[in-house]
Subunit: 351 residues, 2 copies
């Protein structure tokens, strides 16, 4: 049983000091080489006699030495080769794909990703950012788009690179990437009009969300711009979250007068699924609809749901690349990248 430089026994992990790893000093002692020589071997530097290197390697293997990257980076003054990602939650398919895309880019560049969920709590988001910067991440991807989180922007130290997803930064100096939310709902409205609908409604979601408000803007502007659409449609807006009751209330109010609503645009996945569920329990209601955000089962539901699809993968990729450009030092003006949406026509548009 070897005794380590820090006084612990190699085979017995100490309880509170997390775990005692062998250090380069231990390797040096075990191999009879000096600290510097060990360092050379570990970092693959030239100028070590093969025999010596061999001895050191053996000691490394025997002790199970692994370099402490934290200490290495501290001494080098180099970056931590890590980024932090704040997302709203993990389980939404959009955020999950986003995180996957970001991590892929990060990994390709040799970076590690720290991740945390804001879960609708601005304070939690702020704590995450603080924890990330305290660990000196090289950059931040902020994908927590609720307006409440905008205080977050001030928590990000000046000079810390950050890219915002689905919402621009309140401070204008940060890059952002988002879907073409307005264009998406505009396309949805156009599609419904093409199908013969002239009286529409908007089934919203969280009104504090920046994306949801952009989608609402798109709906409003498309409705206003088209003289064929009943102007009442501009006011037929029900923000969420929705369940059977809220949808029933909106529906009965929108169909009680003359020129009743015949088609809906839903603002996100949740709203779409709430509507589908509502229609299941009210088979007598016939309505055309287009949902924002695609989902795996959209084509399996009957009628298959026509959607405005976001390219979460592309959004994540672009956001990460933008961040790494910043990290590399590209000092250009803040960019606001808008990723196109795509209307996937299935059957739910006609009623």
């Amino acid at each position: 049983m070897t005794t380590l430089s820090n006084g612990a026994a190699a085979s017995e992990p100490a309880p509170e000091r997390s775990r005692q790893w062998p250090t380069m000093v231990d390797v040096a002692r075990a191999s009879g080489a000096s600290l510097k020589t060990v360092s050379r071997v570990v970092n693959g530097e030239p100028g070590v006699r093969p025999v010596t290197a061999e001895r050191v390697q053996r000691a490394i293997a025997e002790l199970g030495f692994q370099r402490n990257d934290g200490a290495s980076m501290l001494r080098r003054g180099s970056s931590t080769a890590s980024i932090g990602m704040v997302l709203e939650d993990f389980s939404g398919p959009f955020y999950a794909m986003l995180a996957g895309a970001v991590e892929r880019v990060a990994r390709d560049r040799g970076y590690l990703m720290l991740t945390g969920a804001a879960e609708n709590d601005p304070e939690r988001a702020a704590r995450l950012v603080a924890a990330f910067t305290a660990r000196r991440v090289d950059g931040l991807i902020v994908a927590a788009s609720r307006a409440d989180h905008s205080d977050l922007d001030d928590c990000i130290p000046a000079g810390t690179r950050a890219v915002f997803v689905d919402r621009p930064s309140r401070r204008g100096d940060a890059d952002s990437v988002s879907s073409d939310n307005e264009g998406g709902t505009r396309a949805a409205v156009r599609h419904l009009v093409d199908l013969g609908h002239t009286s529409l409604g908007f089934l919203g979601a969280d009104e504090h969300s920046w994306t949801i408000r952009r989608r609402l803007d798109g709906y409003r502007s498309a409705v206003r711009a088209d003289p064929a659409i009943d102007p009442q449609s501009v006011e037929r807006i029900a923000m969420g979250p929705h369940d059977d009751d809220t949808i029933a209330a909106a529906w009965s109010s929108w169909t009680s007068g003359d020129n009743p609503v015949t088609a809906l645009v839903t603002a996100n996945n949740r709203a779409t699924l709430a509507l589908v569920r509502f229609l299941r329990s009210h088979p007598e209601i016939r309505v055309g609809y287009v949902g924002f955000d695609d989902f795996e089962a959209a084509e399996l539901i009957q009628p298959a749901v026509t959607v405005i699809a976001q390219d979460a993968d592309e959004i994540g990729r672009r956001a990460a690349e933008l961040l790494f450009d910043r990290i590399a030092g590209t000092a250009a003006a803040a960019q606001h990248v808008v990723i196109p949406t795509r209307l996937i026509q299935r059957d739910s548009g006609r009623r």
Copy 2:
């Protein structure tokens, strides 16, 4: 413009040395206090005169100082207060929920989570583990359940705490948490038999996956144990991945002889969706089925899909708690926690 101790100007981030943060030495200089006094203030240690503390605080605010947690942890010899999570991918709903649950527990305990996806590549998984341990994470959650990843187990240094999700460790000394996969498919078979089916088939998935093999085991044992079931059912097994063609081939072979298959068990979400899609394009085929793993739209598809639901949230929570117990030093024998599955009866069982 203040000049920092490391020679960079506060307002101009240096290009390659990632970013120059003010250090305690800078704060000390700016406030006229000593390094140790600054440290005391930063850490809330007693024995500082209020006036002095005030002066230091002001300097901290002015410089935008934030303690370098990496350096702090190095000096303290304390843990890094971080865990690493290796998952198969981000976008699968199961892994996404898992990651969310783990991060929630970690955050509650003041830990940060590093995450990376193995994406079917054993080498990538190994590199992730190496990167995590090089940063001295306090523990690992391994949720990469393909059998190919089992080499991974040897990459985890002895003494590094790890909890395996959905697969036990090859080295027996690590905790694991998984669904009751065998019990799940047994319940599925029982359900189908209750509905009157006596000739079954199994639509599998990746045969290298430990979970898929357990589900297959459950199917086989349930079929063998029940004399009411046609023994041919034990061999009616088609491993995946599946598309229309593979399912068509299996189906025609399983229904060509006498006592044709009338019901199927699908091994995971992907297989279930492939079957649903297949049945869409072959409306003449009528078959009962139960899918492993619930999905949001399962109740919206017609017929609504009966599933064996896994409790991903509970699995993640238990795995994380097990890990933190280990980190806290609870030195008990390795535990293998099995989380029950739940049959959610909808309509797809009867044909």
